[in-house]
Symmetry: C2
Subunit: 526 residues, 2 copies
């Protein structure tokens, strides 16, 4: 029997508070530090490892975290989720994104349908369409092949798919699987759509309209924008557009689209990269085989998230160390720092995933919690970030836990040797150096050159950013966020905090405003 309890009512929470604090700079020094880094590593799927040697824990803290995992029933809650219980209690919905990439538990029958079969079936339909587009069986009206795919969506329909596309674009180029270039239109700012349209060849572009409800204002607005452009170019929009939506949406059966693919209310936007939301654009861009490999990587990481043993469950471990840093050590922010240019927009995706899921002040029963919850997430790729905000990370007055990602090899073939090392070696040397610099610091009589150290980080290490590695990376963070939501006793799957702004924006557009809202509207010329 699962009990949903606030974190601060658990005995293990007290144990976390009581566990002796780790002096990280000391623990990471000398041969003990070396042993620690070797020992504190866990496989996380697709050949990658989660190394937490530089996080502020030791065997004592880990024991408290394991006690917490058991008392908070984290793996039981995950099982309830993947077996189809209504975990999103606010919206009274199941949470089934794991089924888009595998069957973790029992068959989930909802609305008379086996949901695993449903999601896999949609993916198969997408694969068939993609194959026809690539083969030139589906073309524009002049019988010419489509060369570009443009995703129209916002939030989860944009950030995840865009980050995944960028992550694999160069990999696909050198592996000969870049079938179509992808572009993305998201913002209601008309210059976003106009800017993208000004640089593509619309006659050879296929647009993927993504909106679960079929009513997202930004997305419908941008659809009209694109349809205007197609009409002006003398093109039949219905030959250039496909939809990814729910079966009950107005877009589902419309003749306006070449095809429609379905998801449902059990896939939250920010968890939808492995559904048709990511599947259509990525299968068109890279081929369905590459997308299938991405799903296989995610499924591998999902399986590890079932492990009850904290030290064999990297997502749960990452989650609980994060909770420890947030609630016991009091660090309000976390940075995500991939040492891979291909992951340039991965932090922006995690920002939504994490902050929209766990940026909440009430528990799953709608009662205020008396502890802090989701941190602010930000990040940029290294080494770029080193030349930007790392100054504050090293010597600022706040401590910010860091999540590094690094790969032994780069994706493309080219590299260059300068001063005796390749660029890839320099990249890897830098991330290794940063971890130790943050953890251990450096004494200096000149306080301006002094580094206090004690700044925690972990690193996910893989051989190369392949489709499988990317899938595992994505699933790792999805599952981490889920476990943190369980720990904080939140509903991580609704987003009521976005509603008020929508309501007021409608009021502004209807000119039904008064007070400050009217003044701002006037100042902005509406």
């Amino acid at each position: 029997m699962i009990a949903w309890k606030n974190m601060d009512t658990l005995a293990a929470y007290q144990a976390m508070q009581d566990a002796a604090r780790v002096n990280l700079a000391e623990a990471m020094s000398g041969e003990n530090g070396a042993e620690r880094v070797k020992r504190y590593t866990v496989p996380m799927g697709a050949g990658m490892d989660f190394n937490f040697g530089a996080r502020p824990v030791d065997d004592g803290v880990l024991a408290a975290l394991a006690q917490f995992a058991a008392e908070a029933q984290l793996t039981e809650k995950f099982a309830a989720l993947y077996n189809g219980e209504v975990i999103n209690t606010g919206e009274k919905r199941r949470v089934l994104h794991h089924l888009t990439r595998g069957q973790l538990g029992e068959a989930v029958i909802a609305d008379g349908v086996d949901k695993r079969e449903f999601y896999a079936g949609e993916q198969k339909k997408i694969a068939e369409l993609a194959a026809k587009v690539h083969a030139g069986e589906i073309t524009n009206a002049d019988g010419e092949k489509f060369t570009t795919v443009v995703q129209i969506g916002i939030g989860g329909s944009d950030l995840g798919p865009r980050a995944m596309y960028l992550a694999l674009e160069n990999w696909a180029k050198v592996n000969g699987t870049l079938k179509m270039k992808a572009e993305f239109i998201s913002n209601v700012d008309p210059d976003d759509a106009a800017g993208v349209l000004s640089k593509i060849d619309v006659a050879h572009s296929l647009f993927v309209l993504v909106s679960k409800s079929g009513t997202t204002l930004e997305t419908l607005t941008n659809e009209s924008f694109v349809k205007d452009a197609l009409a002006k170019a003398g093109l039949d929009a219905s030959r250039h557009m496909i939809a990814v939506t729910s079966e009950t949406s107005p877009l589902a059966k419309s003749a306006d689209y070449l095809a429609a693919f379905f998801m449902d209310d059990y896939i939250g936007g920010r968890y939808s990269s492995t559904s048709g939301v990511g599947g259509a654009v990525l299968s068109l861009a890279f081929g369905a085989d590459v997308f299938a490999r991405f799903l296989a990587g995610a499924a591998e990481a999902d399986k590890l998230a079932k492990n009850e043993d904290l030290l064999a469950n990297p997502a749960m471990l990452d989650a609980l160390i994060g909770v420890y840093e947030r609630n016991v050590l009091g660090y309000p922010t976390t940075a995500v720092l991939p040492y891979s240019q291909a992951l340039s927009r991965f932090p922006a995706h995690l920002q939504q995933l994490d902050m929209e899921s766990n940026g909440k002040s009430v528990n799953r029963f709608g009662e205020p919690v008396s502890y802090v919850t989701g941190p602010v997430i930000f990040g940029e790729p290294g080494t770029n970030g080193q030349h930007s905000f790392y100054q504050l990370l090293h010597q600022g007055t706040d401590i910010i836990p860091l999540q590094f990602v690094g790969f032994r090899s780069n994706q493309m073939d080219s590299d260059v040797v300068i001063q005796g090392s390749t660029s890839q070696q320099k990249l890897c040397a830098n991330v290794a150096a940063q971890i130790v610099a943050f953890a251990c610091g450096k004494e200096d009589e000149n306080r301006n050159k002094y580094f206090a150290g004690g700044r925690p980080s972990s690193i996910i290490i893989g051989d190369k950013l392949t489709p499988e590695a990317l899938g595992a990376l994505l699933a790792h963070f999805e599952n981490k966020v889920m476990f943190q939501g369980f720990a904080w006793n939140l509903n991580s799957f609704d987003q009521e905090g976005v509603q008020l702004g929508k309501v007021l924006a409608k009021r502004v557009l209807a000119h039904e405003t008064d007070g400050a809202l009217k003044v701002y509207s006037d100042l902005l010329g509406i």
Copy 2:
């Protein structure tokens, strides 16, 4: 006589602590809220306004801030800076980036040279080169025009120029001044350079190598990468490369470059967008006239920063409200949220500008300070962010002050009317709505749909994002960061925190490691 004192030694700091706190939700309600928003606005140059109606201040708090500004001698310190005193005491350097766009005070003679004339002269040389490239007087070896300019630089040589280019790319398109497309190579990850090279036509590309010292490892590595590519294409690299560097750097007199333009140690990387670092790439991309308009906008904002009257000095006002939020109210993070897709990378630039300048724990004399300093800065353009991390901003357990930017008109000609409003109107309606939603919140019996409000923001409003507006926006934030550094008694112009990582990375590449550093190096395959 200027006295450099720690913030907590000033009487006005106590006055800030003692000033009655503002109940923002209450203050922003009803007709009083409307009056407040109308009144709390300050012109900030280039036709823009800084509106702080929704920041957590009132006339009482503002009086304490004005007292602080006077006691901390903020405008005197700015005058010392622009008159050429050695403000960057750590590195024993003047701080002269304001001279790249105007003469604010006395002539500054350094190294026997009038620095305003020097910077203006370099800009003139750049303008001449750009004109020749655009006119086809400088071409590739086949006599063909260059169509693409590629900046090679990292940190301040990348983030600012890249953000400025993206901010004006679409504006230039519709105004007929997009002379060359710009691309950027920054990361030492070899896939960054390879990725950019795979999508450009190197035969028609001009590369701008930017490194003040001429020794930045990432940049020299990427230069070699590019030279290899040029050689493979049978091209003479020296006809395709220009350098922006200091006169004493190894790049200054090299025959490897078509031309070299100079800056000096008085222009910090993160403050260099208005120097040749931004000037070369932006003049080549848009024409020197557009770059001159950008400088004029920055100069306008600089002039306002001289005002002793806090309420006529938007940068100082923004700075001190930020200090109040950070040190009195205890908010650790600030979000920058431009409602303009063109400003998509402006937050990444501000992240460096702010966090590298003020992410410090020691004062300008190298003594530890006993108060918190620079906050974490992050952000994404709206409305995209609304569908991402705004959940946490509205309902998370931490309060995060917000800096909105909005424009009445978009940059491009196209727009579309859907449901009775244009996309631009929807964009503006959303930002107005968000400000009020954050400030005022909303009661609801269902605590999951309840918004506490009291979440502060300001907004910078302009007509359109023109070169002048962009210049003023950039200078506003540069000056804000400078004033905050003065308030915290920091040296905002060095970055010792980036050194340790560099030293350790070299050790890794030389295989001179032990302990944890050796283990990480092994794990990463170096």
